[in-house]
């Protein structure tokens, strides 16, 4: 199974200011498949954040099409995009990722709540499991100000993953961390990709991150180039580990997925969301659950 998690088709982006017109992206073609960890590198100002914002439905391309998890989001309205972001896309930014007025747990719950599919209790359950997955058990009720930079990034990662998105987009996720915390966070990212099969796209100007990647890209002059594979992966990652053991993680994940399944089935029976969308998500969930059950058996 290698479905396409994210597809950019000939995406162009022109920024117009009063004085000039900057063409930042000049025709980006990119396909990220399920389970990949793609790192996109490029110098400052090359358009990495621009690319990410378009891929995540935060901004519109001037030309071209964007498909996330099989859904073409190019022509969607702002509100439709918000709903898509809640369910299908996770974001991790460089810093100040969290809402200061929410605890770690509530930060992770927020996107789940915004989907409108989960009750408070369900969202809290999923979120606390997700925090356990990223190794922050016991920190649920702390506010962002009471967490270290690295811990904050872990919360952000938990938040991005909680709704089970098709793709998680990260913009310099370790850009403001010290080396040690950065290594730990990157270890977590790699591990989540491998253990959960979570599709992740990281943009960065730090070439070291390419060592994590299953695929590496360069962006330059508004165009994207793939670097041929063949490099040693992840050897310098010292701590390829989250907060739980591999078997433990799988059972955690299984219980999370079951909560989601329940919520989705309820949503489907009540007709809260578009039945087509729910149908597809239900199928995907059931597939993941049966796979996990087989692994655990």
């Amino acid at each position: 199974m290698s479905e396409e998690a994210l597809v950019l088709k000939d995406v162009k982006k022109v920024y117009r200011t009063q004085t000039e017109e900057v063409q930042v992206l000049k025709g980006i073609n990119l396909t990220i498949r399920e389970g990949e960890l793609a790192v996109i590198m490029g110098p400052s100002g090359s358009g990495k954040s621009t690319l990410l914002s378009i891929a995540g439905g935060l901004d519109k391309p001037t030309e071209g099409r964007v498909v996330v998890g099989g859904v073409d989001i190019t022509d969607m309205s702002e509100e439709e995009l918000a709903k898509i972001r809640a369910r299908k896309i996770g974001f991790v930014f460089q810093s100040f990722n969290l809402v200061r007025n929410f605890t770690a747990l509530e930060n992770v719950m927020a996107p789940l709540i915004f989907t409108g599919l989960y009750t408070w209790k369900e969202a809290a359950e999923i979120a606390s499991k997700m925090l356990e997955v990223v190794g922050l058990k016991g920190h649920e009720h702390k506010f962002p100000g009471q967490l270290s930079g690295g811990q904050q990034q872990r919360v952000a990662i938990a938040r991005a993953l909680a709704p089970g998105p098709d793709v998680v987009l990260m913009d310099e996720p370790t850009g403001s961390l010290d080396v040690d915390s950065a290594v730990r966070v990157l270890g977590l990212v790699k591990w989540l990709n491998e253990a959960l099969g979570q599709t992740i796209v990281i943009v960065t100007h730090n070439p070291e991150l390419s060592e994590l990647a299953t695929r590496t890209f360069y962006i330059r002059g508004g165009l994207i180039y793939e670097q041929p594979p063949g490099q040693i992966l992840a050897e310098r990652i010292k701590e390829l580990k989250g907060g739980a053991g591999s078997r433990e993680l799988k059972s955690l994940q299984l219980s999370m997925l079951k909560v989601k399944l329940e919520a989705l089935e309820r949503a489907a029976s009540r007709g809260v969301a578009d039945p087509g969308v729910i149908e597809a998500e239900l199928k995907a969930l059931e597939r993941r659950i049966s796979r996990l059950e087989k692994l655990l058996a």
Binding site: S49, F93, I113, R159
Partner: protein
Amino acid sequence: MSVLKLALKFVERDILFKKLVAALTILAIASGVAAFISLRILGIGSRTAAMQIVEQVLPGEVLVYGQGIYDVSEDVVRDLEKLPGVEKVTPAILVTGYIGRNSVFVLGVRPEDLKNIVSRYVAGSPFTGLSGPYAIADLGLAEKLSLKVGDKVAVKPPFGGSFRQYEVVAIAEVTMKIEEIAAAGGYIVLPLREAQNLLGRPGYVSMAVVKVAEGVDPVAMKNLISLIYPGSRVMLREEVIGVVFKVMSLIESLLLTTTMIGIMVAVFGTVSTITSTVREHQREIAIMRANGALRRDVALIFMLEALVYGVAGGLLGVVFGILGAQVGINIVASFGFLNPPLILDVPSLVLGFLMATGLGVLSSVYPVWRATSIRPVEVLKSE
């Protein structure tokens, strides 16, 4: 509604994080509401008091005056009594006079009408004859001139140098405060004949108060009396009350202007608080939008915050308003004319509360619009 709960958490922390600003905002709203409520309560109390006084004091629905100050003949009183539909006619004299250098109201009534103007005897007992050198002093006057029962007072009419002496037989609370509502000075109540003699106008009174029989229209009675006595001035009790109320509403409208200023301050305070909250959380709003929050989810948060300020300000305003009204009532009562009751007029309280919540939410419209206009792509900026 989990979104509501999430929004409530946000608001709760926000208010706790900036205690002082939140407290000041609530206080601003509360003071506006309190001004409104206390003035309403005071106004209603004063009107009620005034109405009670006028109704108590005027033992009839129609008042008949002469052209001058006291030229209604007692014959007229008798004639009026014979008119069909008239139940009772009360003649009275009400003029200003002097005791020493102090101006006083001289009130002449028949002993049987005393019950209509005296609400309570503090000391002594009333006179019983139509004449005789006896007087009842108003409580305020007695205090001012330190009069006691048994004292002799010399009362001068408004003109001329003559005076007469009367013995104070009682100290009482006098409620005859019709037209001279705002005038200073106390009352000295004399038997009707004595008052006529003092003024040198035997057989004349300054007004006759006509009580109509049951089922008779006071307006018809007024018209009838005007027809028979074209030279007289005839007023309905309601018109007297109307005059009192007109003065009161003038005062009230001046005070309401003050209230409006208070409310504008409240609105301004709320707008600026919510605006600065939105600015403070600009990045977090963008983050939440990136995480799938709809515009209405963002709107909910900041409207809720405004609503909390409005509700808290409204409740506090109601309490302050009632306290303020009590203070106002004490001040008015200390002038000695009116003793307004504290009427907790529920519509006013509810209106004040709703005004606070409504204004709170209304004040948030512009900042909320700003908040919902923050584009999610802004999370990528200003890092």
